[in-house]
């Protein structure tokens, strides 16, 4: 079956512009994560959606970052007024997420969107 897909795969933008990054999770997965991976850095958690619950936004680095998930499926991460330090690979992952058994928490990652802010 299809895995997690992300678009665009690469995005070059100018400082100050807004960008939207899209994530299509695996069908049936209720949990969706956004991470950021900067050059030479590990995974930085950004935001977590679980079903119809309010998202966990504790990882968003500033109010320029926001994300939504429409209909419990596709998610869009928006970065407003981009800065050069926003340059990174943005990863999306999904998991079945709703059960108490850990096997359902295995995350499946998309290929990422490489963002470059000039």
């Amino acid at each position: 079956g299809a895995g997690v897909s992300q678009s665009p795969s690469n995005k070059v933008t100018e400082k100050g512009k807004d960008v939207e990054l899209r994530c299509d999770p695996i069908s049936g997965h209720t949990a969706l994560y956004w991470y950021r991976q900067s050059l030479g850095q590990g995974l930085e958690f950004l935001i977590y959606f679980q079903g119809n619950s309010a998202p966990d936004k504790s990882g968003l680095p500033s109010d320029r970052f926001s994300a939504e998930r429409t209909g419990g499926s596709v998610s869009t991460l928006t970065i407003q007024r981009t800065q050069q330090e926003d340059s990174a690979v943005y990863l999306c992952a999904s998991s079945l997420g709703t059960s108490g058994t850990g096997i359902l928490e295995t995350q499946y990652f998309g290929p990422g969107t490489r963002l470059l802010v000039l």
Partner: protein, 113 residues
């Protein structure tokens, strides 16, 4: 609150040597533990996971990890590494039941000829 610490940011090792990548976690409740691998220019993929039962877990590519509850560790090991094992390895912990998964900062394994 949960947290994951990967004690080594980089581990250089010669080909065919053994390797151990260390991971410690903190949690007041039972957890599920994972190792993910990211090969150069590729996406993250699951290497192995501990859910319950045997504390020694075997994963893909000859890797294994041992869950040690008393030491709150989940170290990853391979008896003999290959050049192709060069990658970044991430330890992760989850409480399950809809709680988010927490990742460590990653360990970059560099296998030299």
């Amino acid at each position: 609150a949960q947290s994951v610490t990967q004690l080594d940011s980089q581990v250089p090792v010669f080909e065919e040597a053994p390797v151990e990548l260390r991971c410690n976690y903190s949690s007041s409740v039972s957890v599920y533990l994972f190792w993910y691998v990211q090969y150069p220019n590729q996406g993250l993929q699951l290497l192995l996971k501990y859910l319950s039962g045997s504390t020694l877990v075997k994963g893909i590519n000859g890797f294994e990890a041992e869950f040690n509850k008393s030491q709150t560790s989940f170290h990853l090991r391979k008896p003999s590494v290959h050049i192709s094992d060069t990658a970044e390895y991430f330890c992760a912990v989850s409480r399950g039941g809809g709680f988010k998964t927490i990742f460590g900062a990653g360990t970059r394994l560099f296998v030299k000829a």
